[in-house]
């Protein structure tokens, strides 16, 4: 449930290397598949998630909030793969549309937090000084409050909505992730390469954009891939406590929480279908993130 999980991963990913790997992309993909079969399989799941999310309206036989498309609380059948819920809504359709929201919140919050973390980390790590000191105290503070608790408080104040949930998660994660990017920027800043750029008169902006940011990019990629899963679980946990994306939005977390729990003894599919969907996606995201880290981290390569 915490951003710290991702940091744990990325903490050791400080890398410094030349950008421009695009040409090798194809070769790398096949190499990746060979070396990281689990990662590759996970990538397939992630692709499926994206497809489900993007084409939800094509794949899903019914609208996510279309009531009485079948008898309510009926079990899985040919016409309703995952059964129906208490409103006679098609659970399969809701799970498919749920992919859209999970991806929107998961990816949205992660990208925003990664972008924010990169900017904060770059400024803080590169320039240091009072801004750095103050920001780090903010990060100390933010990290000392359990993320779930902080998010609940913030969301009661903001009120429930998809974007508020996304923004709150993004902001909380950004503070934690910025510590990782900051660390990498500090490492990059003290390399001979940057010293050389500075000695030939490179401006701070130029050095930041041309030399430092490209070199923390792999870290950011790993942060993103390991954070999405955590974000999705965070949203679900908030839903469980009643503070997540508000219904009737078909979120997996929401389906797993009060409605799923209310009917779990007489219609367990209402709980189980979204649980499997969410767990599978989060699992794939995590495995993919690990595989990417194994590949992207120079200190990891060259083994075997």
């Amino acid at each position: 449930m915490t951003a710290e999980h991702s940091i744990a991963q990325a903490g050791s990913t400080a890398v410094f290397r030349e950008p421009g790997l695009l040409s090798k992309a194809l070769a790398q993909t096949s190499r990746f598949t060979r070396r990281q079969p689990l990662g590759a399989a996970s990538a397939v799941v992630v692709v499926l998630l994206v497809v489900a999310a993007v084409f939800a309206n094509v794949i899903a036989p019914y609208g996510p909030n279309e009531n009485n498309v079948g008898p309510s609380l009926s079990g899985p059948s040919a016409s309703h793969l995952f059964g129906t819920d208490n409103f006679g809504r098609d659970m399969f359709s809701r799970v498919i549309y749920g992919a859209r929201i999970s991806l929107y919140v998961g990816l949205g919050a992660t990208l925003i937090s990664a972008a924010l973390a990169t900017v904060l980390g770059a400024i803080s790590g590169y320039f240091g000084g009072p801004f750095d000191y103050i920001l780090q105290r903010f990060v100390d503070t933010a990290q000392s409050i359990p993320a779930l608790i902080m998010l609940i408080g913030v969301l009661v104040v903001l009120g429930p909505s998809i974007n508020n949930v996304m923004a709150a998660i993004a902001f909380r994660f950004a503070l934690s992730l910025s510590r990782v990017t900051r660390g990498d920027v500090i490492v990059a800043r003290s390399t001979p390469y940057v010293d050389a750029a500075r000695s030939i008169g490179g401006t701070d902006m130029r050095i930041l954009f041309r030399h430092i940011l490209p070199n923390i990019f792999p870290t950011v990629i790993v942060l993103i891939s390991t954070s999405i899963g955590v974000v999705i679980v965070s949203e679900a946990s908030l839903s469980f406590l009643g503070y997540g994306v508000p219904p009737p939005n078909p979120t997996w977390g929401g389906m797993m929480s009060s409605s799923g729990r209310t009917y779990m003894l007489i219609a367990p599919w209402m709980l189980i279908a979204p649980t499997i969907a969410l767990s599978l996606v989060v699992f794939a995201m995590n495995m993919l993130g690990d595989a990417l880290r194994d590949e992207l981290d120079p200190r990891m390569r060259g083994s075997r």
């Binding site: 909030n65 009531n67 208490n86 409103f87 969301l155 009661v156 104040v157 903001l158 009120g159 429930p160 839903s239 469980f240 406590l241 009643g242 503070y243 508000p246 219904p247 009737p248 929401g254 929480s257 009060s258 409605s259 729990r261 209310t262 009917y263 779990m264 003894l265 007489i266």
Partner: protein, 599 residues
Amino acid sequence: MIDSTYWSRATAGRVSRRRLIRGGATAGLGLATAALIGCGGGDEDEAAPAATSAPAATAAAAATTAAAATPAGEQIKRGGTHHYPATTALNDEMDPHKSTSQAAILWSFIGNTGTRLDREATKVVPELIASWEQVDDTTLTFTVRDGKWHSGRAIDAEDAVFNLMRISGRLEPEQVARYQRRTTLTGMDSAEAIDEKTVRVKFTQPTSTFLGGLSDFRNSWVPRDFFDNGGDFKDPNTLVGSGAFAIDHWEDEVKSTFKRNPEYWKTAGVTDTWPAGAENLPYLDGLEIVWVPDTTSAIAAFAGGDIDYILNPSRTDRETIKKLNAKAREEIWPFGNWHHWRFNPQRKPFDDVRVRQALFRVPAYDVLANEALGEGYWNYTGPLTAGFGAAIPSDEIAKMPGWNPATKDADIAEAKKLMSAAGMDDPTFDVPIMPPSATQAGFYFDSSVRMIDMLKKVWPNINATIDLPADSATFGKRQVEGDFGTIIYIIFPQPDAVLELQSQYLSTGSRNYGKFKSQEIDDLLLKAGTQFDSNERKATLIEAQRKLITDHMAMVTIDMPNYTAWLNPYVKGMEGFGGRIDGGAYDAWRHTEHMWFDK
């Protein structure tokens, strides 16, 4: 019977008794967020246990209860410990006179009120006040029961005076706002002990509501020397009452135990509120409140015999109970709570009565209630809850346009006409519906979803949405401040028909959240408050109800749910105990003094 001539004239009192306020908060489970506000009862949200809500005062009418409670030939057994499941913390105010609901569970076990209502809510019956006499329109004397506090001291007239003063907030004037039942004693001018057992109460004006007001289930009496003897409401372990059980050890959310009060004053023939032949109550040695995380856990424990009963399970929980505990026995009775869909007439377009009437005619209320509560678990009700004798009866409401399923098509056609008359052939306005919590399952949320569907079938472009508050406390704040378009919720009635209608529809009504205002209704309701003849009073109230339905429709009354208790088969003495008004959980808690175990 102590039914004084006065009381045969006035059926009830002017009691300001607010509905209960603790809803079961429910995040996810039923428990996670302790929410409050609202009241509750009769809904999955607040499911069975504890702070759940539904109050009760009540006393079973002697004859019925007596017959039902001790089936012929059964030998009452003494002993045993009752286990009651609570799902929420009971950590707020334990002062019965300040608390809005929380203290009530505890005081239902350890305390007594001055009076109670009978099962049909038609008259006030004695409790700690043994008898009374209306000396004149502004003077009443009453006699205090022969009984003892848990401390061993006899209950006397000074105790009664202390409680009257305290409930009305006069002992702590600077904190008077905290005394949440002070208006139940509206009109009381002074109270004095004229001898050891007798109290004389003077009123500033003719007041018919006093004895009814004392029946509020939270108006428990506290001994006058409570504070002098080291009592402290901060510490429930120090509480002293007069009830069937005394506090043994209180530890919130862990376990709380109560032991039998061997000197309880209720013995055979003392009052008419319990089974004939009952003596030396209570029968149990003690009781325990145990905390469980949610209703499902409580039901599992109930099936295993670790818990003795489950109060008011939701429709799905009933299915679970039947599955897990086939031997469980159901007690069911009509209970005056009412679900409603309240408009905010301060906001456009809900200020237009035609729009309100049009919206009212569309939803199929039988579908909403059947889906959420189950068939046979609810009744129709008009503006005055059908729990009261002065209400338009359920079966009459069932035949009225809007409620009547048989005329739905015609009603919808009429609704379209009304909407057109209001200038909107194709309405596109917002209809935000605010349920009390973010809980996704339960009467309020589920009914909102269904109502939106029903409205959109008639007017496809109407922007009906669920307006979800962040949590129950947020809901309460927004409700009180009138910050809503429409609300779907439940109201726990006051123990008097006039007071109940006044609180909702009087322009100054304390629960008139939409600030509905009508001179005509104000006049009728104030007039009813001065009528001592029960038939005249009823006539006035019926007129007000009809006008509310046909001319105003300030809010839609969806239904009046039945209340249920599911008991393990060995639990005896709880037969037929529920009251129409003031029933529910508090009824069960108070009635624990009659519970005995056949095992």
